[in-house]
Symmetry: C2
Amino acid sequence: MSYAAAQASIGDSEFDRDTTVTPRAGEPGVYDAELSAGWTIIAAVNGGYLLALVGRALSAALPHPDPFTVSAHYLSASVPGPAVIRTETVRVGRTLSTGQASLVQFDENGAEVERIRVLASYGDLSALPDDVRTTATPPVMPAYEDCFGTDAGPAPIPGSSAIVDRLRLRLDPATAGWALGSPSGKGEMRAWFELADGRDADPFSLLLAVDALPPTAFDLGLIGWAPTVELTTHIRHRPAPGPLRVSITTRNVAGGFLEEDAEVWDSADRLVAQSRQLARAPRS
Amino acid sequence: MSYAAAQASIGDSEFDRDTTVTPRAGEPGVYDAELSAGWTIIAAVNGGYLLALVGRALSAALPHPDPFTVSAHYLSASVPGPAVIRTETVRVGRTLSTGQASLVQFDENGAEVERIRVLASYGDLSALPDDVRTTATPPVMPAYEDCFGTDAGPAPIPGSSAIVDRLRLRLDPATAGWALGSPSGKGEMRAWFELADGRDADPFSLLLAVDALPPTAFDLGLIGWAPTVELTTHIRHRPAPGPLRVSITTRNVAGGFLEEDAEVWDSADRLVAQSRQLARAPRS
């Protein structure tokens, strides 16, 4: 598939279809959703996809449209199938509103199991002033063409993972050594990131982007499951069209936990998102 | 006062007294508290002190004692006086529990006003394995004696701020230029940090430490109020006795908001806490 071939638009894409939330009649702030099997890593639903879905529910529930800061605590592993998102409007202000959301699924006996609890403050990115005083600089990484895709070189995510087909992820070779048995040991992961159907990035797909790369633990030689405990994301600007650059670093592996710090840069060299998560370190 | 003079202990100090939460009889998970005027900056109660207080309530409510990751969304400015903290146990696991808390005060008509909403995951720091693979390095800053205290050089926090008397804060001269009208422009703030009565640090005082320095905005020449929207803190290790080093950086001032990234290092050169907040940038 050439770069310009299929170009889904915002509102009409795999991502939009699979993050659709349907308000329940007579239950304000409650939304039904279907967790798609298309966004799984091994058997579990990807945490970033889940966050995008909850993010859309909060956008529907709150008077402000855009996530500014979203704090998510992950409670149990989500599985494909039906889910219910319950939101609460905590505070409505002039420029920011704060909401809370809980995504639940149901076990074989019909009992409710909570998957993720979220606190978030929303605003209107379009209403922000244009001032930028950033001292941060975009990640230094090879051009899109010189990074590894799923079609060439090592697979960016090992195992049978449906999410690989939903993303156009091209890993910086410097952070892909683990796939060949030679991790750099630095705790870094960098990639070009797009949705596979060519849909442009928006604030909700940024919530996916911060948690869609292979774990930085892989680059430390720790290959295994690194479940997220908590993930907080700041969305700082509406992303420009074109591929994103995602750069993630881990500096402190200690006591069986690690942090992952992510930055997302857009094609206009704007720092559009910053996130940090606390995850359990793989045991290997 | 010489360094070894007054030495309050954990459990018996100004900080412990002022972060006391009293469980309400017959209302499980509900705590009464008194926000002390001793921890105010100008008229508002300091956000880190508030977080420590909510952190103690969650520690009382949850089966695990120590905050591992605490996400707080600030809703309105707290004032000295009575407050109620309502907690909810969201999930209890073997090694981690997740809870939620809401701190409210009451306006002149007795109506409830929510100040802060918190989601947090707690564990047992003493139960963590000893492995450390940190690539982070302690902040480069002058010795304790060569930093600016409140007794010499510029006041670390301008205005009439009671919190100054509760802290033994010694600012790195390289990040104190703003007090003399010459901010470095780098967006950095570094200080030695202790409680003034000599009480050693613990996980709760770390929640205070990440939000007790002058705003990094001052070092950018932006002098004014920088209210916190959201603050997430990871506590990674129980701090050793002795003064802490707190290093805060801001890299992205844009659209009227900025992030503050804090690291707290203990006297044993352990990275004991990492935090990031989203704040409104001062208008100047």
